[in-house]
């Protein structure tokens, strides 16, 4: 018998697999339920409430991950397939929905795939709530993209050291601290102590933003001038040089400057006079 070429064989296997998958999808009792048209009166809901409304109308169990249960969404659904509503909810918030088992679906964070440090950076970014990413400039909204580009732009690939280097986040923290000070009045006079549990919802939000920004954020002034982060770059572009007794790792910028990080190494002789490349 004449042998079928490998690529055609692979395509035939694929076609069979896809047809099988289609048949499976058609037999899946979840499919018609996901296509049930749902109506939810326009209002602000916790995600748990919105998911419960979808669950009741579809007969499915749709539930948020525990950390998202109390997060607020504003929803207005009119005779919309439940699947489309789920897609839109996730799209608005940077979430994903997945099937846990037949009849059970869960809404949670997106977990992008990727290998190496770039993959880690993508997952790092995805772990941050979408609205915080938008404020910090890690994610571009359509409207602010043009403005951000003029400012040097948010990084498409977040660099750990540069988290929060965005004037929007810094300005927000400064404004919130001022508002916190005004709202707490004399209670924050020198030596004042206020339990966090006594704060109202707004004061809590202001404080949380400042705490997160302190750990993940950096003002441009806090970053070493001109520092680049070689882990963003291809390792093949990395250079190693000796300067004094410092062994430095970095990349050459477009202006010829060498920027990176390094430290002393004992035992290596001092280098000679700097070459022309060391500016």
């Amino acid at each position: 018998m004449k042998r079928v070429p490998g690529c055609i064989e692979a395509l035939l296997v694929l076609a069979g697999w896809l047809l099988g998958a289609r048949a499976l999808a058609a037999d899946d009792p979840d499919v018609p339920r996901l296509l049930t048209r749902v109506t939810v009166e326009a209002a602000a809901y916790t995600l748990a409430e919105a998911a419960e409304a979808l669950s009741k109308q579809t007969g499915l169990r749709i539930e948020p991950e525990p950390y998202l249960r109390e997060r607020l969404v504003v929803v207005s659904l009119r005779q919309t397939p439940a699947r489309d509503a789920l897609v839109a909810l996730c799209e608005a918030n940077g979430w994903a929905w997945r099937r846990v088992e037949q009849g059970v679906y869960r809404i949670g964070r997106r977990a992008p795939a990727g290998s190496g440090l770039k993959g880690v950076a993508l997952r790092y970014q995805a772990a941050i709530p979408l609205d915080l990413r938008l404020l910090a400039g890690f994610e571009r909204s359509s409207v602010t993209a043009a403005e951000a580009a003029r400012e040097g732009g948010p990084n498409s690939l977040v660099s750990f050291g540069r988290l929060g280097v965005h004037k929007g986040l810094i300005q927000a923290v400064q404004a919130d601290l001022a508002a916190l000070g005004r709202s707490l009045g004399d209670r924050i006079a020198a030596g004042g102590t206020i339990p966090v549990r006594e704060l109202d919802e707004r004061q809590l939000r202001w404080t949380l933003l400042a705490v997160v920004a302190y750990h993940l954020g950096r003002t441009p002034e806090q970053l070493p001038r001109g520092e680049v982060y070689p882990y963003e770059a291809d390792l093949r572009l990395l250079g190693i040089r000796l300067k004094g007794n410092l062994l430095e790792f970095g990349t050459e910028g477009p202006d010829g400057t060498f920027a990176g990080f390094g430290g002393p190494v004992p035992g290596l002789p001092e280098p000679g006079p700097p070459s022309q490349r060391d500016r």
Binding site: L14, L18, A21, R22, A44, P66, Y67, R71, V73, V74, V75, S76, L77, P81, V87, A88, E91, A92, N93, L117, Y124, P129, D131, L134, L135, S142, T144, F160, G161, A172, Q174, A178, L180, G181, I188, A189, G191, G192, I194, V196, L208, L209, V211, V212, H215, L216, P230, Y231, L235, R236, L238, G239, I240, R241, L242, F249, F258, V265, L268, S275
Partner: protein
């Protein structure tokens, strides 16, 4: 091949693949005339109006900083979405299935993320978990140790080039040295971020029992300023301190005693 498989499988199963701000559903509805008129309407009210007048369902990423706004627009669906977005500082788009999606735009300085504590804890947990295994060891001196190991591994020729002011690239290194450089770069990238995230996680996990405290009152130009911090009671003598920043106190500073 993997990409081809994924695309074909997605097409076969009709998995929705969406980009924010797509052109929306194919069909005439998008081009139909929509009129939205309302005074001092809140965001749910605006979405209700959109659903009634344009037959479009809508979701947002949460309440808007602007509680109420006036709407007066007559145009395409896209015009209507933009009008709602402008009114409530939201970016607007349509999913492929035709559901309107709004996200915070942050053009208004008053707009803030929700800062939902359980979600922030999850964020800190995930990032800490993500970064921890990337470090070559728990040793905070790992970068120094790696750097010194690399220096010891240099051949006489490599040392000569460095001393002459030349730069070595990865192409000049043997595989073991390349692996060492990769480790140094990763440790440098991750170590600081890991410690920050671990402290953030501690701060968020203990947030309910924390205190806001002020210290370091100073007076400048007739204004009093205190420095705020969050203190979390804990195993340390003073607990974990998270500095927040300076805050001006209302009212003029008391006159200094002569």
């Amino acid at each position: 091949m993997v990409i081809l498989l994924s695309v074909l499988l997605a097409a076969a199963l009709r998995v929705p693949t969406l980009d924010f701000l797509r052109d929306g559903p194919q069909g005439a509805r998008r081009e139909n005339e929509v009129t939205l008129r309302a005074a001092a309407v809140d965001l749910p009210g605006a979405l209700r109006l959109l659903s009634e007048k344009a037959g479009v369902s809508a979701v947002t990423d949460g309440p808007s900083a602007r509680e109420r706004a006036d709407l007066d627009v007559s145009g395409t669906l896209r015009d209507a979405l933009k009008a709602i977005g402008d009114a409530f500082d939201l970016d607007a788009g349509l999913t492929r299935e035709g559901v309107a999606v709004f996200r915070k735009r942050f053009a208004d300085p008053a707009t803030r993320p929700q800062m939902h504590l359980p979600e922030l804890r999850q964020m800190a947990r995930e990032i800490t978990h993500l970064l921890k295994p990337l470090r070559s060891s728990d040793d905070p001196e790992a970068v120094r140790v790696g750097r010194e190991a690399l220096a010891r591994s240099f051949t006489a020729g490599q040392v000569e080039r460095l001393i002459a002011g030349d730069r070595l690239t990865v192409a000049d290194l043997d595989p073991q040295q390349t692996a060492l450089v990769q480790r140094i770069v990763t440790d440098h990238a991750v170590a600081g971020a890991y410690l920050e995230c671990r402290n953030l996680l501690r701060a968020l996990e203990g947030f309910d029992t924390a205190f806001i405290e002020s210290a370091g009152a100073s007076t400048s130009g007739g204004r009093r300023t205190v420095h705020l911090h969050v203190r979390l009671p804990g195993a340390w003598p003073q607990g974990l301190i998270v500095p927040l920043g300076p805050v001006a106190l209302e009212g003029a500073a008391p006159e200094a005693k002569r």
